[in-house]
Symmetry: C2
Subunit: 611 residues, 2 copies
């Protein structure tokens, strides 16, 4: 068996003219019991010429001291990568600073291009190209085992560095996190004096809330512009999206797809609708009911703690006042996580054909539950119990507890587990070397046991809920922004740690914006206008301004709320989504391509008329 593999290695080597040039880009692990013939067939498919239906990539088995394992390193020649870049439609910067779709024939016009410059394509781009080629193989026979990438670890420095290493989706998440943290700073700075000087006048709260509402609209609009600047420079703003293939988990009876005309699994839309409305929807409603039930238990606990404090006034009893909120915050986190798995299972069972449709249904399910689970108790305290003191205390406890739990569960715990595992592994390998000079084989072996990063979903969700805590009741607890800023500064580091040290390096995925999360944040900011207006209207100070008629108070609040909402929508409409210079560059590009088309057609017309 070892002999056979050696022979194969030799037969591949002719493809790679300079063996030293082989840069492993993706690591593929085949299932343990994979048959010899399958391996041979599979590796042949990978190295085979395009014309023969292969991927024309390079592949090498990973040789460790235990001999050849079922682990393969996949790479590609520089030329192959450049042609692949054209196939996936990468957009790169030209020598004249404009962004253009890369083609092999026009390669000389691109900035930093040289035939011997192997850094022209970023590592993330190379991996995306290889993943695309491997998936195209899979689309033909559906037998390939999905690969996972080899992670070369270093902490992120700037968004552009992150983008080169992890690709655009993750870079955009870090960009958003960083931007959002900076954008919260003004709110935090204005919030601090409220705590320090115990400002409790209504006009100061009104000012803070108004600032908060307009500010949250502005930051969301400005983010769109920053996002356009970033993705223009990265080329993804201009990149044509690929045709969406069915997601890997999709199954059904074989039929003809009406769009592509190919024979592929087909699943009736009516069955899916039935599953959604008869199973998923009732399940979600049940979960929401359960969440509300837990909330009522929390209020019982709260009452009990209050009674206990009244009976035996002591330091211990006043500490006890915080216990129900902390327990509730922990329960909320646990429920969110369990529900997340249930939602994933259900959405997967709904059998959506496209990944985008799967994602939309999953996000909708999770968002609705998380929103209710996290904020229902606060809404109840604010608008049913009218207890501003409890609201402030509960908000603070929920916010801080959830932040601590999240940081712990998402990064520190997995990091510690990973560290322990690594130490054990190293001991087993009897290697006394430090991290940095691990051989490739040792590193691959160490990293293959790492968890898989499941995408930016949970990270965005965390920011979304944080945005809710900060903006929904901002006029009651201005300090929330301060905690959010502090959390986000550590979050940047713990997320970097998580992605570099805890999980296998995820495949790069080009993207032009943060997608549905933009809409989610905007919806939250609309809801926060309503809640803040009501809270201000309910404050005793505002109440005192209308001593004669509560009617006038309510009417005034309603009027102000409608005005604020109108201003929000007008602002969102007036602020352009792309900065002027990006608009100009896009217009220039459009003009050039239309001009080229026109020239071509005029030539054609002239020739046809001549005939």
């Amino acid at each position: 068996m070892a002999g056979k593999t050696k022979e194969m290695v030799e037969s591949w080597s002719f493809l790679d003219t300079a063996e030293s040039n082989f840069r492993p880009l993706v690591v593929i692990e085949l299932a343990k019991g994979t048959k010899e013939e399958t391996i041979e067939w599979f590796t042949k498919r990978i190295v085979d010429k395009k014309a023969n239906g292969g991927a024309q990539l390079l592949i090498k088995p990973l040789v460790t001291e235990n001999g050849v394992e079922n682990i393969y390193l996949v790479g590609a020649s520089h030329l192959r990568l450049l042609l692949g870049a054209e196939t996936v439609g990468l957009v790169k910067e030209c020598s004249d600073n404009s962004m253009r779709t890369f083609t092999y024939s026009s390669r000389k016009t691109f900035k930093h291009f040289a035939d011997d410059n192997h850094n022209f394509l970023t590592m993330a781009e190379c991996q995306y190209i290889i993943k695309h080629e491997l998936e195209n193989l899979r689309a033909k026979d559906e037998k390939m085992i999905p690969g996972y990438p080899q992670a070369k670890l270093y902490p992120g420095k700037s968004i552009d560095d992150i983008r080169c290493y992890f690709g655009e989706t993750i870079a955009l998440y870090f960009g958003f996190l960083e931007y959002f943290t900076f954008a919260l700073i003004p709110m935090a700075v204005i919030g601090i004096p409220y705590y320090m000087f115990a400002w409790e006048d209504y006009d100061k709260y009104v000012m803070f809330a108004t600032f908060n509402l307009l500010w949250s609209t502005v930051i969301l609009e400005v983010w769109k512009r920053i996002c356009a600047i970033l993705t223009y420079r990265w080329g993804t703003l201009l990149m044509k999206r690929q045709f969406e293939e069915p997601r890997p988990g999709f199954h059904g009876v074989l039929g003809i797809n009406p769009v592509t005309g190919r024979e592929e699994p087909v699943y009736s839309s009516i069955k899916r609708q039935l599953r959604i409305y008869l199973v998923s929807l009732p399940f979600v409603c049940l979960c929401l009911y359960f969440s509300l039930y837990v909330m009522m238990i929390y209020f019982d606990l709260e009452q009990w703690a209050l009674d206990y404090h009244k009976e035996n006034e002591s330091n211990f009893s006043s500490l006890m006042l915080y216990v129900p909120s902390i327990i509730y915050a922990v329960v909320i986190e646990i429920m969110n996580r369990i529900y997340r798995y249930a939602a994933e299972f259900l959405t997967s069972w709904e059998n959506h054909r496209l990944e985008s449709s799967y994602q939309n249904h999953l996000i909708l399910k999770v968002l609705v539950f998380n929103f209710l689970n996290c904020f229902a108790s606060l809404f109840y305290i604010a608008f049913v119990l009218f207890d501003m003191k409890l609201l402030r205390q509960s908000l603070a406890t929920l916010l801080i507890t959830s932040q601590i739990l999240n940081q712990f569960a998402e990064s520190l715990l997995p990091y510690w587990l990973q560290k322990r595992y690594n130490r054990r592994m190293k001991k087993r390998m009897c290697s006394k070397k430090t991290d940095t000079d691990l051989s490739l084989a040792e590193q691959v072996n160490m990293e293959k046991e790492m968890g898989t990063y499941l995408g930016t979903f949970d990270d965005y969700l965390e920011l979304f809920l944080q945005f809710g805590y900060v903006s929904l009741f901002s006029c009651v607890y201005p300090l929330a922004a301060v905690f959010a800023v502090l959390n986000n500064i550590t979050e940047i580091y713990s997320d970097a740690l998580k992605m570099c040290r805890v999980y296998k390096r995820p495949f790069a995925e080009p993207t032009a914006n943060i997608g549905v999360w933009q809409l989610a944040f905007e919806t939250m900011s609309v809801i926060s206008v309503v809640t803040n207006c009501i809270l201000i209207g309910m404050s005793p100070e505002v109440d005192a301004l209308f001593p004669d008629s509560k009617m006038d108070l309510v009417l005034t609040v309603a009027l102000v709320e409608h005005l604020l909402l109108a201003i929000k929508f007008i602002m969102a409409f007036v602020i352009p989504d792309k900065p002027r210079d990006i608009q100009m560059k896009l217009a220039k590009l459009e003009f050039e391509s239309l001009e080229a088309l026109k020239q071509q057609q005029m030539q054609l017309a002239a020739e046809s008329l001549k005939e």
Copy 2:
């Protein structure tokens, strides 16, 4: 001079192999004093080969009994039109019922194509192609006098017929008008019993208003789908938009356009902003103030009429009650029209570079003023005077008077003037023939004095204001929908009359949707949720339901309003903008073009690797 022209006619004839085939498509009238050399040069440019920078069209002077006038008929050979269709990117139906961009080389695959079928392109498409070619000539030397089309008159039968004759913009207006009228019928049908049985219970009004609000959301969403169906069939949904050239009226000092790199007039954006904010904005505010001032005079008149009626109760005095409203309605119409001219002048003076930017600024100016001018008095009566009886009376008078005035001023008056002019013309020409057998020369001469149709702006505006009358106060006056339906049925005929008989035939303009009007109608439907909720809350019947606390009443109304708004937004989000089959067809098209691209690139890659 006549000899020279004859010679020119002869020299052109070789282009048109069969003289009988010459179909005049566009009529160009040159300015009276145009020099002989200019005419010669200009006609040469039109017939010259593409390769020499000409338009390669056919042109013939119009010969009447008065000899050769400065009027020219422009046509094109069938082949030329087909190549032009490719240049402008027309999308036509293939034999397999899919829509594809027309190319000359693939012409045989298109439905109804035959080399001798000269009806393959609709007349509107032919005119659009010729206009495009003539404008491309202009773009080079800016000397051409814009042409106007020759109108062959017949009343529209179906939207598809209208589209073939007038092009997509006007067809879509008629489509919207027809759809909107049908969509109003349920509201009108439900509204009638309110008048007949004098239903004044609050629950019936609430039901009507709720139905109205949801219905108006549904009809606007469904219109988007119908619009997609229509424009998919017409090919404009798929048509790539052309690069926008500067509008004809734009002027400035010569400079380099940063987008196109061409030398063309450049006008500083700061100057334009100054003109907008320092002149236009104050002017609009002044007009708004004046409009409110006129409104207060109307209320004085109203009061006077009421006093008069109280003093001398008679039939005459009760008729007098309606006079102030009628006068006010007439004044509103006059003010709207005067303001329209002022807004056009100002927007033109702001010197926008692109037609789209000019249109947006004009529409914004006109919409704001028209909205306030028409509805301010109604808002004042409803929410300041709280006089529901006066509101109903005023609404009815305004609606009916404005409809009558509009129909008269827009179609009947110009039609009558035109008719009188035509009769005089015919008498002068001593021709006793009927309309149908006028010679081409006579018809051109008759039609060249017709007014120019200024686009669908005024027609949409009229529908927009009508939608306001129907929906803003629907729970007070359910009969408004009935009048709207009646008006729109006659409007369809009077608009057809206007476009066919009163104005010169406008150039066809491809379009994929009704543009900014969709947004305007949606905004109006959001505002109407607010007004209707307040009106219902103010009704004595609802008031009686909350005898103890006016607070509860206001809170309930606010809650219902927010719920309705939320439902509206969710509905707008959930209802897909394109029907499923159109989505499938678009996906299929996208798949095919991406697949073709991929094939091409894979071939290229294989070839490059072979080298």
